[in-house]
């Protein structure tokens, strides 16, 4: 698995966000990452003003790699994904700045038609709620086959055969018999498999999965996640996994970006974040996972609520909820610093947008 490729290679004292983030994959060998998001900004016009949903987000994903984007609802994780896909609701949403480079080309500068052709074919998305994300009045076979008819110009008959093939591939029993069934006739797990099949139909280079297992029963979650990881490995696709569930992340992700109020507050290779978080928000998220070995103790919860995007607090957006906030946190927005060992040794791929990251990771 590629996640093992995260090497401990040393890098020069990179300072910009995207450099920090591209550390891991430059180590992997390929020159240009599959997808680079650079200082992306997304705004929503509302009646009460402009909401800055995404405020300078940068991350990158390489082929075969899995990036988990973690955050509460409203953190901007889904909006970033929709901006990458080009499916923002606009108006009211619009990309206000930044670049999204796919195979090295800025897709934000492409024509609508060019981007449309990328969607579904080169980059695809899996949504959270498969029941509402599949059209209720068309059979699953029709909706799967549509990918081949529209992007490959296949006939109805050929596309149906392809749909059956896909359903087999995502392990839906009796695919041939069920190809004419409608979404509501499938179980939740089977429906999500169909969503996955649809996203993978044309073997895209990049998959964005927005909370793909949140709506599923716990018992089914693991199966669906395993299937997704397996297919990703087979096709060597880049995967952006958007989730609020740290449990899901541990098994499948290579690296993590934690988002809060439209910014990335921490990035790290997946296993390190559990051991040594470098941002108080990440710490809080980890502490609020119920643990069996702490039975009887009161569960930790981050106090307060995520900020209103129309009135993001001055300074660090997390400061009002942060147990360790100082005066500087309320005035100065912390940049995403590279995170190092005490002796100055680089920790590749690690970054923290906390003024006191040193205390957090080493303290």
């Amino acid at each position: 698995m590629l996640r093992d490729n995260i090497s401990k290679q040393d890098e020069g004292g990179g300072v910009t966000t995207s450099e920090i983030l591209s550390v891991a994959e430059t180590g992997g060998g390929s020159a240009v990452p599959l997808l680079e998001v650079d200082n992306l900004q997304v705004e929503f016009k509302t009646r009460d003003g402009v909401a800055k949903a995404v405020n300078g987000v940068s991350y990158s994903v390489s082929a075969g790699e899995t990036l988990a984007v973690l955050g509460e609802s409203g953190s901007g994780k889904s909006v970033t994904a929709q901006a990458i896909m080009g499916i923002l609701d606009s108006p009211p949403g619009r990309v206000a700045g930044g670049e999204v480079r796919f195979h090295g080309r800025d897709i934000l500068k492409m024509s609508d038609e060019e981007r449309r052709k990328l969607r579904g074919d080169k980059m695809a998305m899996i949504f959270q709620d498969a029941l509402s994300s599949l059209n209720p009045v068309y059979s699953v076979g029709d909706q799967l086959g549509e990918m081949f008819r529209v992007h490959r110009g296949m006939s109805k008959k050929d596309s149906k055969a392809k749909a059956i093939e896909l359903m087999d591939r995502v392990k839906i029993p009796a695919a041939k018999a069920r190809v004419g069934d409608y979404p509501h006739q499938f179980s939740g797990g089977m429906r999500q498999r169909i969503m996955i099949a649809m996203a993978l139909a044309l073997e895209p280079d990049l998959i964005i999965a927005d909370e793909p297992t949140t709506a599923l029963d716990v018992t089914v979650q693991a199966q669906v996640m395993d299937l997704l990881a397996e297919l990703q490995r087979e096709m060597n696709m880049g995967l952006i996994l958007i989730t609020h569930d740290l449990g899901v992340v541990a098994d499948v992700a290579d690296k993590i970006a934690v988002m809060y109020a439209g910014r990335i507050v921490e990035t790290a290779p997946v296993h390190e974040i559990y051991k040594r978080p470098s941002h108080p928000y990440t710490r809080g998220l980890l502490d609020s996972i119920p643990r069996l070995d702490q039975k009887g103790q009161e569960l930790y919860a981050i106090k307060g609520l995520p900020p209103n995007l129309l009135r993001i607090p001055a300074g660090c957006a997390f400061s009002p909820r942060c147990p360790k906030a100082q005066d500087i946190c309320r005035t100065e927005i912390p940049a995403l610093h590279p995170v190092t060992e005490l002796d100055g040794t680089e920790l590749p791929g690690r970054g923290s947008a906390c003024h006191f990251w040193k205390d957090q990771i080493h303290g």
């Binding site: 579904g120 695809a124 599949l134 059209n135 006739q185």
Partner: protein, 308 residues
Amino acid sequence: MGRYVARRLGQMVIVLIGATMVLFACLFVLPGDPVGSIAGSDKARDPAVVAELKARYGLDKSLPEQYVNYVSKVATGDLGEDFIQRREVSEILGPKLANTAKLALLAIALVTVFGMGVGIIAALYRYSILDMATTFFTTMAVGFPTFVIGMLLMKWFAVELQWFPQLGGDKLEGMVLPAVTLAITDIAFVARLTRGTMLEVLRADYVKTAVAKGLPRRRVLFKHVLRNSSIPVVTYLGISFGALLGGALITEAIFNWDGVGLALVQAIQQQNNPIVIGVVTYSVAIFVVLSLIVDLLYAALDPRIRLS
């Protein structure tokens, strides 16, 4: 699906039996004098004539007998003889039915084209001048009853501009004003409904999926949005068509259109009960049948209904 159709057919029969009983109760059980109008006014009434008339129209039998008699005749299409011309009711109503149907077809065509068209455009260009004009039109239209619309249209387009005849004839131009009169309010309702459901469907997750699949905008709209948002609209259109076919009393009266609605109005003024019974029975039946068709159409359009 088969069981669903069977159940709905059963319900339809029950409703039809119920409706004929209500009608029958109104006309024969409530105080009133069905023979009065033909036998002449009370003082000049000859008991022998009354008895003969009662026998002729079966009014001397017991109520249940009369009801069974009426229903069994109606079921075979026999509506009896009317009181005034002494002709078969079905014979009198036949050509009138055709006239009403012509008007209803033109009206429903106008409603479908303009109502859905305006609604779709308003939804796609939300907050545009056109959308706001649509909202204004649909808000105001509820206040304008058919008789006001009809009279206004007649004043403007028949009396002043003289584009169309004042009273409907057999020609197409005579149909325009009554059809528009019938259509305007429904155009407003359908436009409002279409706009509302379109906006709702446009926000649906599966539309986002369709866009994310890289489908061209036209395909997203015509395949994924329109089919879903047409479901409630088709329902409304079907029911509305049923009501139109049942006879547009006011419009037909204003434009003197020789349909079942006008026939009913005249029959009521002349207390010509067989015609009244005939028109009302027909009108209820057509409405119930249309409701059934709409339900089946609904099931055809929405697999969630069809397959549950």
